[in-house]
Amino acid sequence: MEEKTYVSIHELDAKSIVGATDIEADISKDLPLRKWLYAWLLDPHIEGNYQQFIDKWISILIVVNLFALLFEQVPAIFEPNAHLFHYFDVFSVVVFTLEYFLRFYVAPEDPDFAGKPNARTSYLFSPFAIIDFLAIAPFYLKFLGIPLDLRFLRFLRLLRILKLFRIIIPAYHDFAKANQGRTLRQKVHALVFPGTYGGRLQELFDGFIALCVLLSVFAVIMESVHSVSYMLNIQFVILDAVMVGIFTIEYVMRMYSCVEEPGFKSPIAGRFKQGTTVSTFIDFLAILPFFLEGLLHHVLDLRFLRVFRLTRLLKLTRGNDATTTLVKVLSREWPIISASAFIMILLVIMTASLGFLFEHEAQPDKYENIPTTIYWAVITLASIGYGDIYPVTPIGRAMTVVMAFAGIGIFAIPAAILASAFSDELVKEREVLKADLYDIMKDGKISTDELDFIRAEAKRLHLSVEEVSALVRQIQQELEREANFADMPIHQIAAKPELAAEHYKTLLSNIRQLGMLMEPAEFDKLRQKGSRLSAEEVALWQQIRAQ
């Protein structure tokens, strides 16, 4: 285990807690150009430079290149848009070439090559540089008119995906270092569950799953477009199988390693508990239709299950806790929501019944019976008003006016309750965070683990830099005031036993000081003269002084 490091509360920076990206890099303008370029664009150790930004956009470009390569295999997409594919290829190669030459130029500044006799030659023959070269070389070979088999060219272009290793390999090394000496299950746990051991690799894993979710949901949506699904039916089938494969592996990894989570320790009961959590159940729903439809479609018509593939989108809620807050708010406000739902149902039935009563004779085809009139009642009360059914009799219209006014109020109640409950929940959670911060900060120092906790909570509650800053300042002030608690109101001192004890000691000390500093004979004379002190007070005074 690594030794714990601490940060003083006075050095606590709200920007670094929230992860604000507007930290300005501390790079001197007087540096030589090569050093300056390396520091600004490629040095991973300088906070606030453009290295992460460049890495991110290069990764996105690589992934888009992969998709472009896949879509090129579909004549229906490629042929009408061949010129766009070509422009995109040119753009990608230009970006990758710039990156390649930049890295070549600044190689002597890179610590990996700086110590070597010829840094640039060492760079050229490094694995990453060879991958970078292979990513751009096919384009120039084609450009130079060298005849190459198209399939070979495409294969070489596919190698661009290897450029992602520039991000994955350092993340893997950090992960391996952080998890040294840990069991396989703990490593799997670190990879799939957010925590302190996962690091950048866990973030990449989460990002990869999120990308798969988005791609998969996009495919499900596009499958409903006849012209697209007609062209790409087989590609959708392959994509779905690959995505389900990935999601199933993720599901198994999660179920296997969940026993490392606090509260899920038991091998069977813990896994069962994990399987019944909302997020894991969503994971299960995301893969189930594939297996059921694949195996049982000869016997049963299970096409309706396909819609459950859209639940994959809910997998994205795992990171932001929105579902938990929603469930918490709904369960807390359930009595009020159910009461308002009951009133809504009453109003709908009453409106439908009155509508039927007043309009049936005038429009028997539209206001045929009460159940069919319920549709009109809901559309009217919810202020949708399609206009396909409307009252024509004067009394029917008058009743509709009254009911519509009532509907506006009644239908708005649940929305207002939920909005206010959400707001309350956030305030409550912030209060809890404040209490946690107080506990963490009261010893005057914050460990890296505690800092991680604060960071995660600030992220979960969507706190801005200003809010975190205000919270930290408020707690710092409270702690300072506590250190000098004599100024605190007595009820605040009484609320904390440790402060009350300290205060008591201070008071005793003050009494002793008083006794030492004043003239005892004068004091005795004064107290015997009048009735300023009672007998008990005098006894207590003497007792304290005697000690």
Binding site: M1, G181, R182, T183, L184, R185, Q186, V188, H189, A190, F193, P194, G195, T196, Y197, G198, H226, Y230, N233, I234, V237, I238, D240, A241, V242, V244, G245, T248, I249, V252, Y256, E260, E261, P262, G263, F264, P267, T277, V278, S279, F290, F291, E293, G294, L295, H297, H298, D301, R303, T317, R318, D321, T323, T324, D449, E450, D452, F453, A456
Partner: protein, 211 residues
């Protein structure tokens, strides 16, 4: 939602080897990969069958579209499919098939009234390209059915041709689509819609065209 992995989560030191549960995990992972691959291959094969059925449907559309203009020629060889030559004698205006009705597939040879779809179909199926056509789901020649019905899985890979009739202006529904039955007259141009039945016997529209 997930319980966050706490900073104080226990980390039992490991000697780098694998425990029994690790091997169980590897076995489960292998099983999962095999299961996904197996179901994936099944789905892929079914998908390929659907693709082949679409190609069959496209071949029908291509032939019917190509012959749409030709069949007005006086020397058009398939006389039963020729347009504008002879008024139908036995043709009765067909009614749209009632919902849920399971009618027999049109039997080309049985409906031989001249200038009707039945007579024309009897000649079309003799065209070598259609005679050699294979329904990838069954391995037999694809049948022309009135409609794809998910309740009848045996229809997968078959072809459904429907006619589209324009309704008078102002109607709520601009066109009525109904099954093309053997007795339908084909002496004038027809708007047709051709679909193939997928693995679940759901229709996949191939094209709408004029014949």
């Amino acid at each position: 939602m997930e319980t966050q992995s706490g900073p104080h989560a226990a980390a039992t030191p490991s000697d780098g080897g694998f425990s029994t549960s690790d091997f169980g995990f590897f076995a489960l992972m292998a099983l999962v990969v095999v299961a996904v691959t197996w179901v994936g291959v099944l789905s892929f094969e079914e998908g390929m069958h659907t693709e082949k059925s679409k190609r069959n449907g496209e071949a029908w559309v291509a032939w019917l579209t190509e012959n749409s203009a030709k069949r007005s020629d006086p020397d058009y060889p398939l006389r039963a499919c020729a347009a504008g030559l002879q008024a139908p004698t036995a043709a009765q205006p067909s009614e749209p098939a009632p919902e849920g009705a399971t009618e027999e597939a049109p039997k080309p040879a049985a409906a031989a009234a001249p200038n009707t779809w039945g007579a024309c179909l009897a000649e079309i199926v003799k065209v070598p390209a259609f005679a050699a056509m294979v329904n990838p789901f069954t391995g037999k020649t694809p049948e022309l059915v009135e409609k794809c019905d998910p309740a009848d899985h045996n229809l997968h890979g078959n072809i459904a041709i429907e006619k589209s009739i324009s309704n008078p202006p102002g109607s709520a529904v601009p066109v009525t689509i109904s099954a093309l039955v053997p007795g339908d007259a084909i002496d004038t141009k027809l708007q047709l819609k051709l679909s193939i039945c997928d693995k679940g016997a759901y229709p996949i529209k191939v094209s709408e065209f004029e014949f």
